[in-house]
Symmetry: C2
Subunit: 528 residues, 2 copies
């Protein structure tokens, strides 16, 4: 699977020099030529290993109270698994099953949840992009699922395959991202029954990072695994994790057959799912931060427990998608304080259970990449970082509660991720003594620009985000008075112009294309 | 001093209903009529009493290491007090003084710093706006010092007295702000030697909240105290705190005569200063987060110690203004991760010394209230809140590293403050059991909108910021497709149209105006 080994740049290089390292391979002519060329050594941050303490917003006793209430929900109210096979599996496992309603006692629940590994490794087709998550190790994953894009002309329109592939390319090139995600925007110009083929093709071809599986039907999950098998080897993907998928619980307390079907396919192959209740807090949960967390915890734990009936020991991710609704209009909101509180609580629960867990980072409600989007984004991201989330999702491009993927916000978000990455490295206490030498050298009323310490540290001491403008008003005006979104669009254009394909073996590429052609013949293009 | 007692609304009312509570007094005709009317019951958040844990980014041992290095700086390198009187006071107190260079041993330093009260009360002319800060009690204070404004037409131009008074009025009306600040923007249309008179007049007339003193000359500090004396009573302001001022140390290691002169005036009257080294980290400190903190700590402690030579036991505030510079261009940056780290470290030091302390909340580098401004703002504000800062300054209006005050950002910032205020209230653990009743009531696949719990909580459960737009794309388009900045400008206009003056006793108002007229005759309008 090793196809484009490239020297790893230092984090300093990555933060300072941006996504495109020097020394890119020269373009050779034509499609075939580009396929054959050595991949450009595109940089990527290593997995984030946080060196700062997690933030515990409530005492451990409060977490125990939540846990007990979550257990009571599953024991006394129960949860529905609306799938005959799943309900049958619960019955065989000894749970109290009536119709689709499953009541699980806490001993069985915790025994099953205890089988989920505390961390897992997800292989990329380029082994240098392989990641391990769990504990203090985290990854940044771009957004997923937008029907609309905010395009280069500032127009909001349906997403197209060309957009999706642009986003796959940007995800590949952005050093801050550890995954290509998959359905960053919906390719609305491809018939629904064929979309999954083109989405996964894009992930496997335009990027060499891990990606996300399709969950909208059992057959589509199976196609995803077959396409992964073409690239990674059919045997390899039976037991080795090469993707992560998301399955949402329909809050309150319903796991549906579609999601469970996809889950069964992936779990059988040791491919993890994010067991993520989708909660519009106040509507599909109580209008209560702690109440919403207790319910979502019950839902996620039940989902995780089920995965261990499918394949004990399979890696899985404790998940949640929690957004408070505006209780006057019913609209989902974005970066609000309670959403941050919920993340911090979920982090405390995840640590109690020793589970890798996901959250959403730059999830915002704004229509535009404007001040609202910026405020909302970092209202949430500080909590994503301080709560110790492992699979930090939706961290590039997200606007409008997920309805829209924005090129500008994609790039702005990525740059901010660089800042949060640096933030999570913590404070370099060992630099205290050397810095004090500089203070002695300079004394009162001097400046530090020429000290030996400054010369050795000036590139690495402080995060310097190039898309953020700190120049004088005059210089900024002379450069066109561009706001952050306009600067980011320019950057996206420049990056796409410089894109070079990470080489995929020609035989595998043809096999993927043959597979798609065959499946397109087999699957009617119209939804029945 | 009680002039406009008004019933305190609940926090819920404030958060939900915005700045203008119902029941405003009817406008009576003419200037005189408006002066005489009862003040409108404008709402104000109580002092923020944080209920969430502080975040300690480094262990206590690292804080001790910083403390020791800061002490060594003052013992071995020393710090300059460039003022004969101040140097003489240090000599009399037994410090090692050579010229202006003062070396202070750590025992004397800590003895003096130990005299600073851990909290203080700052009286407002409306006693309901009186605040106590220190420990877990914090206030939000709008920005200070901008020569430029970004106006209602989106034009950046010099600030004028009319702008300054607009900002005073907005500061009065914004329930999230606990102070009027003072020089929110510079009134560039007033001659420099007379400006302080008009600035303080605006604070005292257009708002009834605490304010900030003038520090640009001893005589201006004295005029500030005289004007405060007219409103609060000459005797009262000799010992009772009615304002806070800022004095900046010129990093590295210089306290200058102008600042020390103002400090002496205020400390003699028990009026606190923010002892705030102004550090462009990397230029006026080492290029090191921890090194910058150790130096700034030494500077701030030396300044605080000096205040206790002036008036032992006088309230004072441990301060810092720390911004990292872009080491490639030399430009000061805004919301970057190291600035957040520095805040968190300063908070740990402040708690070690049991000092009230200040930081800057929404300090950003952006030229515009755009995505950059939003990202930067909340990159810093999370740290301001989690570090437990008490005097959280520059939290409304700030753009362009402080060069520009923006009407739009003023209002956007205030709304975000409401979110952070709610954030700092923490998670209501007691709501767990009632919320679980709602889960039992609803069960799987239902919704919570009609439960008794929802009906009792829907107004208070979640922060709902009205300027943030969460409506559908269609509705938002029908309303003009306004970005956050445009919505905020509309809000600023509406608020200023609705402004009603908080009544100040007619005799006091005339005395203030007489004082200004007299001083304008005494002070030449041109700077000599």
């Amino acid at each position: 699977m090793v196809e484009s080994p490239s020297p790893m740049p230092s984090i300093k290089d990555l933060v300072d020099k941006g996504p495109i390292a020097s020394g890119s391979a020269k373009r050779s002519g034509g499609r075939e030529g580009r396929r054959q060329m050595r991949a450009a050594p595109v940089a990527c941050f290593p997995v984030l290993e946080s060196k700062i303490p997690v933030y515990e917003i409530v005492p451990a006793e409060a977490i125990e109270l939540i846990h007990v209430e979550s257990c009571k929900i599953l024991e006394e109210i129960g949860i529905e698994f609306r799938d005959d096979e799943a309900a049958g599996m619960w019955k065989s496992a000894g749970a109290d099953v009536r119709g689709y309603r499953v009541r699980i006692d806490r001993a069985q629940l915790m025994e099953l949840v205890g089988k989920v590994p505390p961390e897992y490794t997800m292989h990329a087709r380029n082994p240098e992009r392989t990641v391990t998550i769990g504990g203090r190790k985290s990854i940044f994953v771009p957004m997923y699922g937008a029907p609309y894009v905010l395009d280069f002309e500032g127009k909001r329109r349906y997403g197209a395959k060309a957009d999706l592939y642009n986003f796959h390319k940007l995800a590949y090139m952005a050093p801050q991202l550890h995954s290509t995600s998959s359905i960053i925007c919906e390719p609305m110009d491809v018939p629904v029954p064929h979309r999954h083929l083109h989405i996964i093709y894009g992930c496997l071809r335009w990027s060499d990072k891990p990606f996300m599986g399709i969950v909208t039907a059992r057959s589509r999950a199976e196609d995803t695994m077959k396409m992964a098998g073409i690239v990674f080897g059919e045997e390899f993907v039976k037991d080795n994790t090469v993707l992560t998928a998301v399955v949402n619980c329909n809050s309150p307390l319903v796991w549906d057959a579609t999601m469970l079907d996809a889950l069964k396919v992936y779990a059988a192959h040791n491919q993890p799912c994010l067991l993520s209740p989708f909660a519009l807090c106040g509507a599909s949960t109580a209008a209560s931060t702690i109440g919403a967390v207790a319910q979502v915890n019950a839902e996620a734990l039940a989902g995780l427990a089920f995965t261990q009936l499918v394949r004990p020991g399979s890696p899985q991710v404790y998940g949640q998608f929690m957004v408070a609704v505006d209780m006057k209009s019913g609209a989902p909101m974005g970066g609000t304080p309670e959403a941050a509180h919920m993340m911090l609580l979920m982090g405390q629960l995840a640590r109690k259970y020793r589970l890798p867990w996901r959250t959403s980072g730059f999830h915002v409600g704004s229509k535009l990449p404007d001040a609202q989007a910026g405020y909302e984004a970092n209202m949430l991201m500080h909590a994503a970082i301080l709560s110790g989330a492992n699979y930090i999702w939706h961290v590039a491009g997200w606007l409008e509660a997920g309805l829209c993927a924005s090129y500008a916000k994609f790039l702005l978000d990525c740059e901010q991720l660089g800042g949060w990455y640096k933030y999570a490295q913590g404070v370099d206490v060992d630099d205290l003594k050397p810095a004090m030498e500089a203070v002695r050298e300079v004394g009162p009323a001097g400046h530090f620009l020429g000290t030996a310490h400054t010369l050795s540290k000036f590139e690495s001491a402080f995060f310097m985000p190039p898309m953020m403008d700190f120049s004088s008003w005059e210089q900024w005006s002379a450069e066109g008075s561009l706001d952050a979104a306009a600067r980011a669009l320019n950057k996206a254009r420049t990056m796409l112009d410089a894109y070079e394909e990470p080489r995929l073996d020609q035989g595998k590429l043809e096999a993927l294309e043959d597979f798609i052609a065959r499946r397109e013949k087999e699957i009617p293009a119209t939804v029945s």
